[in-house]
């Protein structure tokens, strides 16, 4: 078990998250991709905490903060998706051009 394996795994998860974030048409799937990217970051932090700083585990503290903020982000994001769905009657990301001039 080495640090590099976990870091490469987290990089793969992050890249999958980026792909889904850009290519998804459904707005809920975009939020799922954001969650994937946050999990990749958490995996990075936990790997660093275990291998580089195993006594004062500050990486785990950071991971707990990231989990709390991810929960808040999911709640706000899904509320925004619901509000847009009520206004526009679609969840297609291509039709959300409210801020496009």
């Amino acid at each position: 078990m080495q640090l590099q394996y976990f870091l490469i795994l987290a990089a793969a998860l992050f890249c999958i998250g980026i792909y889904g974030l850009i290519n998804s048409r459904n707005a809920v799937r975009v939020l799922m991709s954001v969650e994937l990217m946050l999990n990749a970051v958490n995996l990075n932090l936990m790997a660093f905490s275990n291998f580089l700083d195993p006594q004062t585990i500050k990486g785990q503290v950071f991971t707990v903060f990231v989990i709390a903020i991810a929960a808040a982000e999911a709640a706000i994001g899904l509320a925004i998706v619901l509000a847009i769905y009520r206004n526009r009657d679609t969840v297609d990301m291509e039709q959300f051009n409210l801020l496009k001039w």
Binding site: Q4, C15, G17, Y19, M46, A68, L78, A79, D89, D92
Partner: protein
Amino acid sequence: MDLAQGVQTVSFGLLSLMMIGAALGVVLLSNVVYSAFLLGGTFISVAGLYLLLNADFVATAQVLIYVGAVNVLILFAIMLVNKRQDFEPIQRGWIRKVATAVVCTGLFALLSAMVLTTPWAISATTAVGNGAIVAIGLHFFSDFLLPFELASVLLLMALVGAVILARREFLPEQPLDAGLQQTPVLTLPERPRELASTAPGSPERTITGSPGDRNA
């Protein structure tokens, strides 16, 4: 974690396969409900990887918060937004897919090269293990006290904001009073009774009449 090296390696392989496969399913499947359930599989695999990294508390928090709260919230959102529609294909959409795939592969290659060439300062001390909860609690109430309190304020703000954003705003459909419909258009709807009870030649009554004596 007191597992043998072979057990750790096999567990890591299985969990990483599960995680990557479920993450690819989240991104690539067409049905969004399957994506939501596979997202739960990804979260559970990540929790297993946390167990391999000697972090029991964070693995438990991962299962509780991500699988128990965030994934259920996403499933509720899918239920509330259950519009079965086929997205109409956009012009030259494959360019974006191919470009994103190329960029993501390149980013992954870059990150892998960076990870493999960096000389990491691996610490030789043993992990804190079961004392992780005590260590995290000490961090929360000593040197991470301000971020801890800010996180609680942030969660409260997110709660209020989510309620306000997702609330359905009802418009009143019935008129407030039956006599409201006979009033002229230009009068304020708050004072129909003063207009009905005063003669048209006494304007001071209308001016001095506060909204409070509608109930008088």
